[in-house]
Symmetry: C2
Subunit: 532 residues, 2 copies
């Protein structure tokens, strides 16, 4: 919202007070209208999965940006000045909360080890490679003047992935393991890169030595743990309140409001204490759908599912629309005073480093994960094809990259420094290029690597008649009931027995059923328990 | 949101950039936390209907304001500077849209004539009386310096009611006519006073003559008609898109997003064209629940109902919390340099004029309404007791009054003029006094006037077992199905036949079934129609 105010302040200087109100109304009206257009066009595009809604929103933003640029006589292509506050305070929380809320917890916790391996270790490896590569190659291209801290920031900026695009072409039912890995990596990666970015911000050292690296790592570990704990607490408190207070008299409106408000409160508290709001709100979402969701009325359950998904959908579309519009930020293009070839060199270098950065962790970490699950049978092995898809899925860069870049290289969206302007335009080019080009190629690639008949599916029981709904709401449709959970657990018991990861998972399930669910609510696996 | 930025700008002057982010985070965190507290306390208060959630939120805001005032050493009691943009752009639209969306359309259109009579004519009469009274009495109290336009604004400010409080003690099932009149008047009154306020803003005349009055009236009529038409169009377009595009493949997220976005777009367009967004979004809500709602999936229906209600609930609580906090705006209290007794004189004068202003239209207009429905039998007569309740219900002043006062007498929440500061504090005192004192008295008054055994109920078939849910969601529970509608219409046919208002209503229903519903969707009353 700050963005609008900058605009409104800007306009009110030359206009009357009456018109200053309108300078807020105009951009909001146009943005809402564009969102409606994206929505209707996106509906028609469902038949062409290679042209997903992210690409559609970016292109619409790009076209509108061009029109504004032309009508304003090359002054500005934007209606709103980018504000990382708008992004981090209003748009990101609902997206991440929804991700946590809708995640298939069984799959997520089942593949917890590889997800964390890819999401955390992967970001650390990728950041190191991108940062080191830029530090080594940028001066050779004639582009210098960045500090160690800035190179590390660039590393985290280009290590945060955007997996929405790939998820739209993967089928949860045909390849549950792959889907869960890509989704899980995406969420953990978002959180990790923001946490790492914040940890990097704190160092002032001119040179990077072992001590600084250790400090960054410890900072990261501290942020990760405390943020998770805060999110878990928020989820448990909500579950407890909903279970304790609402016995006998349910009011859907209050239940929904409480879930939304506590989740948002946990995010804001995390930001206040300089923790990672993303991690906090993600775990708040996970805990709420695991416990609270079972303490509320049927109407509240349906409403929370779809309302959160809608909110997240609108926020995502808004971001892509904005990124497309921002691509034509004429001032920044003019400001970065590099030759065309130097710029091209920069873009190719970063793109190459991103590719290498992912190669460097996806394949080795897959081998480690496969080794850990060595006795788990084919169903938990990450095949070569799956490794390629995971690698590819993480090549797209999205809104988090843009937001972090703006946070690092601008002051409320404004910069007068050519080096900073160059980094902003580089980020936007990378995001546009990766989303559009790699996005277009994803569908053919996945079709080639995973022919429907050749998929390593654990179970193929999904209803193929409704793939459309699945694509829009990938995670809504399969919330498993308690009895299903139990029977499947029994079926798989003998198969899973000798896996080390399973043991932890099994201990947790027993603890959950015995102690957590009676206090915080949730589906009962024991029919004889009278408290259920 | 502007409010937060003012704060953030203020703080960033004395703090580092890092801290400027936090100056936004702190107020949001505190507000969200307070909303959670209101929610939980409000749940316990359900057992005491005389202490409703509005009062609770105001009191909590008051207490927190006191604490902030003390800790900040009498500097400021507020976390956010009041911004009528925050109110008019973000908080009011969801409240009014929800009112339109949840209104029981049958009741509303059935009592359309008296509702419009109270809502429109009532505001015009009340505004004239309050404005004339203030113009006559304020100088006598030693408080002058206001222009004719400002007196008229004061008239509209103190003519906008807040009926939430009364609705919480009225029962929709026991007194459907009364409930529908109070609710209907509340919504139409909100819209009318804002429209009239905007019409008054445009006049610059020093004296009020017939020509100016006519111009205000014509302006008002123009705003009223165009705003309604815009809202109706928005509703019909949404219905048409949802019916036309989504045949065969429904996506709940897209459906919900489209409804929300088009409704908001209509509001913003109305504001852009200087119409009344409130009227527009109200009718968009009515049309959407009448047509669009029947074109979407079952999940979308449930979600829209509860999600809109939740959103509206949060916005309302936020406003009351804010008003409570704002009551201690020390600067403004200091600034209005009047003696204690002059201030008390002002408050009593305004309060008295509000009481007289309502007497002057509720009782005469009730007689007119009864005359129009003279052959409708007891069920549509507004009894003496009902007239008293309608009069009382409109005495509370709420958020709209505060927002209009800030719009008239401050510039982005700031004023340095003692006269303006006095008007702001007067408005806040009137809102607090009427909400708390009259609010407390409402329950005993209604109990006294309408003993449960003596209610003029048309039908007493409501389920009295779930009054709690009814109070929280007064309008959610009784959306009538098509067959119910039809059978009830048949039952009432002979009784209603000789009423003039009914004839229009009946023509509309026939037109709706024959032409509108086949195009825009809706429940079919004709089972043989294959297009349903």
């Amino acid at each position: 919202m700050e963005a609008m105010n900058h605009n409104s302040t800007f306009y009110s200087d030359m206009a009357t007070n009456l018109e200053s109100t309108h300078s807020q109304v105009v951009p909001i009206t146009l943005f809402v209208a564009l969102l409606c257009v994206c929505l209707v066009i996106g509906h028609f595009l469902e038949e062409y999965p290679w042209l997903n809604e992210s690409i559609c929103a970016i292109l619409i933003g790009f076209v509108v940006g061009t029109i504004i640029l032309c009508t304003s006589k090359l002054k500005s292509s934007r209606l709103l000045r980018f504000s990382e506050e708008l992004f981090f305070i209003y748009l990101l929380p609902p997206i991440i909360f929804n991700a946590g809320f809708q995640v298939k917890k069984k799959q997520f916790f089942h593949n917890f080890f590889p997800i964390m391996l890819f999401g955390i270790t992967g970001v650390l490896i990728s950041t190191s490679i991108v940062a080191a590569g830029c530090w080594w190659l940028f001066p050779k291209l004639g582009f210098g003047g960045l500090t160690i801290s800035e190179y590390l920031s660039i590393g985290t900026i280009f290590s945060s992935t955007d997996t929405v695009c790939t998820l739209q072409v993967l089928s949860q039912d045909e390849t549950p393991l792959l889907y869960s890995l890509v989704f899980g990596e995406g969420v953990v990666n978002d959180a990790t890169s923001v946490v790492l970015f914040n940890a990097v911000q704190k160092i002032n050292a001119e040179t990077l030595n072992g001590q600084t690296a250790l400090r960054i790592f410890l900072d990261f570990l501290y942020l990760f743990t405390t943020s998770t704990l805060l999110g878990v607490s928020a989820g448990l408190v909500t579950a407890y309140i909903l279970r304790g207070l609402y016995v006998g008299r349910h009011s859907s409106v209050r239940e929904i409001a409480l879930m939304v408000l506590v989740a948002y409160l946990s995010y804001m508290l995390a930001e206040l204490f300089e923790l990672s709001g993303i991690l906090t709100v993600f775990f708040a979402g996970v805990l709420m759908s695991h416990y609270s969701w079972h303490n509320v009325t049927e109407s509240s359950r349906i409403t929370t599912r779809y309302a959160f998904a809608t909110f997240s959908f609108i926020a995502e579309t808004f971001i892509f629309l904005y990124v497309g519009m921002d691509a034509l930020d004429y001032e920044k293009w003019k400001m970065s005073m590099l030759s065309f070839w130097t710029k091209m060199g920069l873009y190719s270098t970063v793109m190459l480093l991103i590719l290498i950065g992912r190669v460097a962790f996806v394949f080795p970490l897959s081998i480690i994960s496969n080794y850990m699950h060595r006795s788990g049978g084919e169903s938990t092995k990450i095949s070569k094809q799956h490794q390629l898809v995971i690698w590819w899925a993480g090549l797209m860069r999205g809104a988090v990259s843009v937001a972090l870049a703006f946070k690092q290289f601008t002051h409320s969206g404004v910069t007068l420094d050519p080096t900073n302007a160059t980094m902003i335009t580089t980020t936007i080019v990378i995001v546009l290029f990766s989303t559009i080009v790699f996005g277009f190629l994803t569908k053919p690639l996945v079709d080639h690597l995973l022919p429907a008949t050749n998929s390593n599916a654990v179970r193929n029981t999904g209803d193929p008649g409704s793939p459309k709904e699945d694509m829009t709401l990938p995670l809504l449709s399969v919330e498993e009931s308690a009895s299903e959970n139990l029977s499947r657990a029994k079926d798989n018991l003998s198969m899973l027995m000798d896996r080390p990861v399973y043991t932890i998972h099994s201990y947790w399930r027993r603890f959950d059923t015995a102690y957590m669910r009676p206090i915080f609510g949730g589906p009962c696996s024991d029919e004889n328990d009278s408290s259920c």
